[in-house]
Symmetry: C2
Subunit: 400 residues, 2 copies
């Protein structure tokens, strides 16, 4: 009985420590007195807990607050550069690696190239190498790393840290943790890339404190991370959010999934680049013709051309936006979210087409859910998944 | 301090009473010893609580169980016909009224006709009349009624018991509770009809214990109740599940919502009846021609004709099923549910088209979520919403 009680006390102490650390994060700066008021804990208990947090280096004394009669209270804040988390966004030709500190600030980032057709084992070894180099450059001991989050463009089982299927990477049932030989002592988390972006938007982006939102990523593929009641929604097998395969035109092009007219086949950057190449080949008068080598056409080329007044390029962006609007309309009717954040490559041309997206949604969605939803472009762009992955160990630290 | 403690004790006692009552419901029959084991409460506490429940008439002694050495234990069970709940499904020309007892068994049901174009006030007065008659016939005192649940084909605010908008009823910002003058002393709950059906499937139907499922109702309109993590999902404004307005064919017919090619315009029973009338007018050879008066064509006529071998009628059902399959495919890709239950009028022809629905889903959805989902027809049919509405007061009683 007494041992059980000790166990409970230990649990409670740990829990209270997490709560206080999270309050300091949320409020940026708080005095011990304020923390006692916020938590209902005794000043003595708060004193013990904050002493531990100071000793372990999670927080520091960041200045003094206004006096309420007596001495000016010392304000506690998260200690920058005290502890770190690493986020990795694995893609076909490269992996983006981010180092953030406990405050969520990005300390360092790099893009690690990965050989074409590399095995999962080789890719992971390269990523490990990249992380070790980054830590060495920044002179950070591995003991200061709270964990590594890895974002994967595919279906993951985030509980057993297996990649079930990532078609573009050619990964099938890959046990990421087993391959991470250099980091066997620190927590490893894996997450789907769209869900990682949604976590990022919810922690530091445009959906902080938002209960029901959809974060949709436009790049060579399209996927969404869905938040329901303030938490990521995974569905029964972890594949929720595969909105790139919503059928937006039954007579549309064939998709890699075998179906026809999936959103991905009509609104992804891959599709837009293919469309642009087709038009150049057809000799449609446009400044896209200036691009001598067809191979050089990218979403950036198209966006630049559209900005320079090229109607053909602009039309490609607008058509894609129209299909995106149809898919969003389906999602809004089905899920009645309060926000939709569109991210990744979309950020590069959002100003050109966001109004088109919104007009299609207005025309094609019921009035009530449309009047309740805000559709916006992410401000984070292509590092959202790496940052979201890095945030996962922070969420664990702060008990979120 | 001491008063606060008493308050907490009262709360705990009430909470434990609810837990025990719910365990008796779930396990059908349990002895006091078993209840003590299941809850971790002392035998004395369980004795006090079950005495209260027996005294208040919620449970009864239903027999004796197997002896484990000593006396054979007395088994406790919910007492049928002890307390009741009422469910009402309000539709355009009628309201279906159900009386269930505490065990969830349907005791009585009736269909109360409502004058065409009746005001909300008049409709509600007629419903009240119907409920009072039913209670009088069954000799049930109003004190024995735990609550009334009302299912509405439209957008409801279930917290303030307002119908925000029910287009088919012509209701707009109707305060149902304020109109229920005869029942001001008992709890009134309002719920969207598709969500009420989903509650029904989760409590007594095919989705008991299922965390993530969609209950989709096919009738003159189409709507869905979505369960996420074991609870109804409403979205930010309560309009989640408006899947009747998923666009399944952009070039399709105009919908009442102003859009084109919504699922409702291609898969509802209203649409199918219109299609059948068109074919009869066109003189397409079919036993639908036997229906002399066009006005008499209904979904039942079409189903009967299809069963009798009429290919035109069968085609109408199959085409609607195809569009339903496309919409389900979108929902499955987005939500990765483990079950989809299709209900209401669909139950009348499910055996004729369920395979078509499934084949379309297989062809148009990603492999992984498809392999995880079961698509089935409801076994409850057109009383699902009334029964779901009646279950709401029971859920409150059992703390669910």
């Amino acid at each position: 009985m007494s041992r059980r009680k000790t166990g409970n006390n230990q649990y409670l102490k740990q829990r209270n420590q997490t709560v206080i650390l999270d309050l300091i994060r949320v409020y940026k700066q708080k005095s011990k007195t304020e923390l006692a008021e916020l938590t209902g804990l005794s000043p003595t208990a708060v004193g013990v807990i904050t002493s531990c947090l100071l000793k372990d280096g999670y927080i520091h004394e960041a200045g003094t607050g206004d006096s309420k009669g007596g001495r000016r209270p010392i304000l506690l804040a998260l200690k920058p550069h005290s502890y770190y988390a690493i986020g990795v966004d694995v893609d076909v030709m490269y992996a983006k690696i981010l180092l953030v500190d406990i405050t969520g600030n990005i300390i360092e980032e790099k893009t690690q190239s990965v050989p074409k057709n590399a095995t999962a084992k080789l890719t992971i070894a390269q990523i490990e190498q990249g992380i070790l180099q980054m830590l060495a450059q920044k002179n950070i001991r591995i003991q200061k790393v709270l964990g590594i989050g890895i974002s994967i463009p595919g279906l993951v089982n985030h509980k057993n840290r297996q990649v079930v299927l990532a078609p573009n990477l050619g990964w099938h049932n890959v046990d990421v943790y087993a391959h991470m030989k250099q980091f066997s002592d620190i927590p490893i988390y894996i997450e789907n890339e769209a869900m990682a972006s949604a976590i990022c938007e919810n922690w530091v982006g445009l959906c902080q404190g938002v209960e029901h939102f959809i974060c949709i990523n436009i790049q060579s593929g399209i996927g969404a991370g869905i938040f329901v009641n303030g938490n990521i929604y995974r569905g029964v097998g972890g594949s929720a959010g595969e909105v790139g395969h919503i059928v937006v035109d039954e007579t549309g092009p064939r998709c890699g999934c075998g179906n026809y007219g999936c959103l991905e086949t009509l609104a992804s950057t891959y599709h837009m680049v293919q469309e642009a190449k087709k038009r150049v080949r057809q000799g449609i008068v446009s400044c896209l013709n200036d691009v001598e080598a067809l191979a050089c056409i990218s979403i950036e080329t198209i966006v630049d051309a559209a900005r320079a007044g090229d109607q053909a390029a602009y039309h490609i962006l607008k058509e894609a936006a129209r299909y995106l609007g149809i898919a969003l309309s389906n999602m809004i009717n089905t899920l009645n979210p309060s926000k939709i954040v569109i991210g990744k490559e979309f950020v590069k041309y959002a100003d050109l087409v966001l109004e088109d997206v919104y007009n299609i949604v207005q025309a094609k969605t019921l009035h009530f859910p449309t009047s309740n939803v805000e559709i916006i472009a992410s401000k984070i762009g292509d590092k959202a998944s790496a940052l979201g992955a890095a945030i996962i160990p922070l969420k664990v630290l702060f008990g979120r």
